[in-house]
Amino acid sequence: MSTKRQPFTAITSHFILAPQNNIDTDQIIPGRFLTTTEKTGLGKSMFYDWRYNEDGSVKADSLFDDPAKKTSKILVAGKNFGCGSSREHAPWSMQDYGFKVVMAPSFSDIFKSNALKIGLLPIEISEKVLVWFKSHPNEETTVDLEAQQIRCGDEVISTFKVEPFARYQMLNGMDDLDFLMSKTADIQFFEDHRA
């Protein structure tokens, strides 16, 4: 059975800014929340130790619980975002919270791969573009994967590049496992002929 995903074309949204460098996956979703056997429901635990007091109440200054920003589909972060553990629970929790895009000057390899695989778009931006976001905290921006542009109104803030195969898959709502299963004959040939 093939699994069509929601195609990603463009979104327009406010953003949440977490400009620290090296935000690791233990910050995004602490280890004690990895006991789940589902992919869904992790949004409330995303950035748990940043968001909640010891008694479980929401911190007054929680970035992710400000009513004016809570519907943001974009997270803008500092460099080396998603370093550390390979837990896909990190992008799952971000997607469950409502994020569709995460922008940072750089990403860890495994986080970037995991995010692309589930349709959470990681975009590498320059430090200059990060500064633009810092100085325009309340703007809505458009992320256009077809044109590979970040726009504010009609102004192009930046262009970006996504690995061509991943971009094609996301634009068309295609699934990597379906693609791999279409290679079964090649895989069989490799198994039969390897040294």
Binding site: P30, T35, S85, R87, Y168, I187
Partner: protein, 472 residues
């Protein structure tokens, strides 16, 4: 495009990569890379099995999958009624789910009843599943451990766990190559853990992003297999998904002595094939980093990522990250050694092997864990535990006042109930000191087993060379 063998001179990584290409990468498509061994544990696999089931797909090669339970498992002894003292029902259900998935798919699972259960990266090599030139993946970023054998081993997410279960392949762009040349020799009392912390301090947490590292040079060749595993294990803390060391006589001797492979009649001919997995003279790397082993001292971390590391006798650097110092309660320009310790953890896929336990025991023997310090010693596998007990290490630990636990990941990621309280300072032989990694508000100092044991005895962070047993 049909794949071609790598053209000489090529690197160890090039050779392993080329030998596993089902199809080459093009501008529009990543390579299809064949995976020889897929390691599976309870935390990152249940959603992948559910995905296969919902699509009506089967596990393509059950014989290439090896599963064990380690992250969610308690390290306290089995209850009188034979049940296990899981911290939460969710921990228990996660383990039970892997039992069910292994059964449904005909997979080998080294579970509670196995004498070869343990931390996946400790038990997979022990059972002879890891050999040079293989491709190995696991839903776990410390899979790079197996690079110690000259395998290309890296961590993947759960979606990719599903890809490998269903197709035995992954879609991959070829990473760049980095040589880390370690010249000279490690000084007395300086360990493989100190070496890798020094490397990460030099290249930074993202220095290896996009690269596969090959560790080379005299100081690397001089390492034992267990030490090589410690080095490769932490490649990801420098951003590299994989770190490799070319197989040599040390590798072959270890495989012969420590795994069932040594009993095989064709061991000799297999060894010859394995030794071909090495970087050719004249092969080039995309990046080269040089490290002088002579200058490395026992290392400790002072901050909130593994690159924030210094010699145990050095001062916290003046330019240290303020947020990190605030969290740790340390000050720039001040000592880390002498800081009061609440807990000490010896274990993990980084430092939970027999030689690590022996190193700790050398210091703990005839001494006591300081008043007010809780020390957990968690062997990496059931076999490691049995081997340690056979030479009396358990007695040394218990006599010193440490807790000798059952095998598992334990306090490394604190998801099984073993954790530190807010504010507690933990000297830990694990691999990550991120904020809250060992419990909300817990402060982690990464170090070698020698430094951890010395700190447990003194009750504060201590240079292990203070003890003559570490300096020998």
């Amino acid at each position: 495009m049909p794949p071609k063998p790598s053209t000489p001179p090529s690197t160890l990584f090039d050779k392993v990569w080329a030998a596993h290409l089902v199809s080459e990468q093009t501008v529009d498509q990543p390579a299809v890379l064949y995976i020889d061994l897929h390691l599976v544990h309870e935390v990152t696999s249940p959603q992948a099995f559910s995905e296969l089931k919902s699509r009506g797909l089967k596990v393509r090669s059950p014989e290439r999958v090896f599963a064990t339970i380690d992250h969610s498992t308690p390290t306290l002894p089995t209850n009188a009624d034979g049940t296990h003292p899981y911290a939460t029902d969710e921990n228990r259900l996660q383990v039970e789910k892997l039992y069910a998935n292994a059964k449904d798919n005909g997979l080998t699972l080294n579970g509670w009843e196995s004498d070869r259960r343990g931390v996946v990266h400790v038990t997979a090599p022990e059972t002879g599943r890891v050999t040079p030139g293989m491709t190995i993946v696991c839903g776990d970023s410390h899979t790079a451990t197996h690079g110690a054998f000259g395998a290309l081993a890296f961590g993947i997410g759960t979606t990719e766990v599903g890809h490998v279960l269903a197709s035995q392949c992954l879609l991959q762009r070829k990473p760049k190559s980095m040589a880390i040349n370690v010249t000279g020799a490690l000084q007395q009392g300086v360990t493989a853990k100190d070496l890798i912390l020094a490397i990460i301090a030099k290249i930074g947490t993202s220095g290896g992003t996009g690269y596969v590292i090959e560790y080379r040079g005299d100081a690397v060749k001089a390492l034992s297999m267990e030490e090589r595993m410690t080095v490769c294990n932490m490649s990801i803390e420098g951003g590299a998904r994989a770190g490799m060391i070319a197989p040599d006589d040390v590798t072959i001797a270890w495989l012969k002595a420590n795994t069932p492979l040594g009993e095989r009649g064709d061991f000799q001919s297999m060894s010859q094939k394995w030794l071909a997995f090495k970087t050719d003279e004249g092969a080039s790397f995309d990046k080269i980093v040089n490290i002088d082993a002579n200058s490395i001292t026992p290392m400790v971390t002072y901050g909130i990522d593994p690159s924030m590391a210094i010699g145990v006798d050095d001062l916290v650097p003046a330019g240290a990250n303020k947020d990190a110092l605030e969290y740790m309660g340390f000050e720039a320009g001040h000592d880390v050694h002498g800081q009061k310790v609440s807990k000490v953890f010896i274990g993990s896929c980084t430092n939970g092997r027999l030689s690590d336990l022996q190193a700790a025991a050398n210091i703990l023997k005839g001494r006591k864990v300081a008043e007010g310090v809780e020390m957990l010693i968690v062997p990496g596998s059931v076999k490691t535990k049995a081997d340690a007990e056979a030479i009396g290490l358990d007695k040394v630990f218990v006599d010193a006042g440490a807790q000798w636990r059952e095998a598992g990941c334990s306090m490394c990621l604190a998801m099984n109930g073993d954790m530190a309280a807010p504010g507690e300072l933990v000297v830990s032989t694990s691999n990550r000191n991120f904020k809250g990694r060992q419990g909300p508000g817990a402060r982690t100092v990464l170090a070698s087993p020698e430094t951890a044991a010395a700190s447990a005895v003194m009750g504060h962070i201590t240079d292990p060379r203070t003890f003559k047993e570490a300096a020998q």
